[in-house]
Symmetry: C2
Subunit: 125 residues, 2 copies
DNA sequence: CCCTTGGTTCGACGTATGTCAACATAGGCG
DNA sequence: CGCCTATGTTGACATACGTCGAACCAAGGG
């Protein structure tokens, strides 16, 4: 890793807790690696169907949802599974099989990290 | 060709879909329309080159940058222009010709809107 | 054991996307 | 005026992406 000294973050403990990704994009020009990493997440949310699925999971009670409960997004069931897989590969969702059904859950740190990335430390909350 | 070179933004539908975008995606499942609108912005940031260009503009002094200053992202100059156009169509950037050079500027409300969308009202800044 | 329900994987198809080279336009300068 | 630099546009191409139908695993219930 040829990474130079990290940015003078005022609170490094808070930053490392939820931001494994990149600095705020208003802070410094992104490097190629940072851009690749961050773009992967944005791209995962760049599809209407995936965004609906992600929102459905994120807004579901308990932070997790069965596939059977969110698959009403206007596409076939294999397509739903395909998109959920993409979201999982992007690190935005986690899946767990519990008996007959499969439950998807949002990775909370991802939302905070992307929020910081966009609005800066003010999104830390 | 078919259009005169008067207006820089021939499609108002894209530009106006920025600020009053959507509720936080953890609040309620997105509707199809909300997902389309929000996904358009995420998709614009879903490319590494575009993300680097956007970050370069956002982090530049004065909040604006000349094309000649940010076009070092590893792709040809036409490709840079192409991506900047995409970002402008997505409502994330605004361009202004000042003499010989063209300057791009970030739409601040967009960052706040997307931040809210991800992390909820805590990103209101 | 088979059969029904829930979910994923596979193969294929059409379309969108990113990229470049070549050309076109805008503005400054000798 | 013509040339030269700075951006944008066009056309073409390879690749990736979203979508579906069909086939394939997993878990329960008769």
């Amino acid at each position: 890793m040829s990474n130079t000294k990290a940015l003078p973050v005022p609170d490094p403990a808070d930053a490392r807790a939820v931001a494994p990704c990149c600095p705020p994009l208003t802070e410094r020009p992104f490097t190629a690696e940072e851009a690749e990493t961050a773009a992967r997440m944005f791209k995962a949310l760049g599809d209407p169907v995936r965004l609906r699925l992600f929102s459905a999971v994120a807004s579901h009670e308990g932070g997790e949802a069965c596939v059977c409960d969110i698959s009403d997004v206007g596409v076939s069931q294999p397509t739903v599974s395909h998109h959920l897989k993409k979201l999982k590969e992007a690190g935005l969702l986690a899946s767990e099989r519990r008996g007959t059904w499969v439950y998807y859950r949002v990775e909370p740190s991802v939302l905070a990290a992307m929020g910081k990335l966009l609005t800066g430390p003010s999104a830390a909350a």
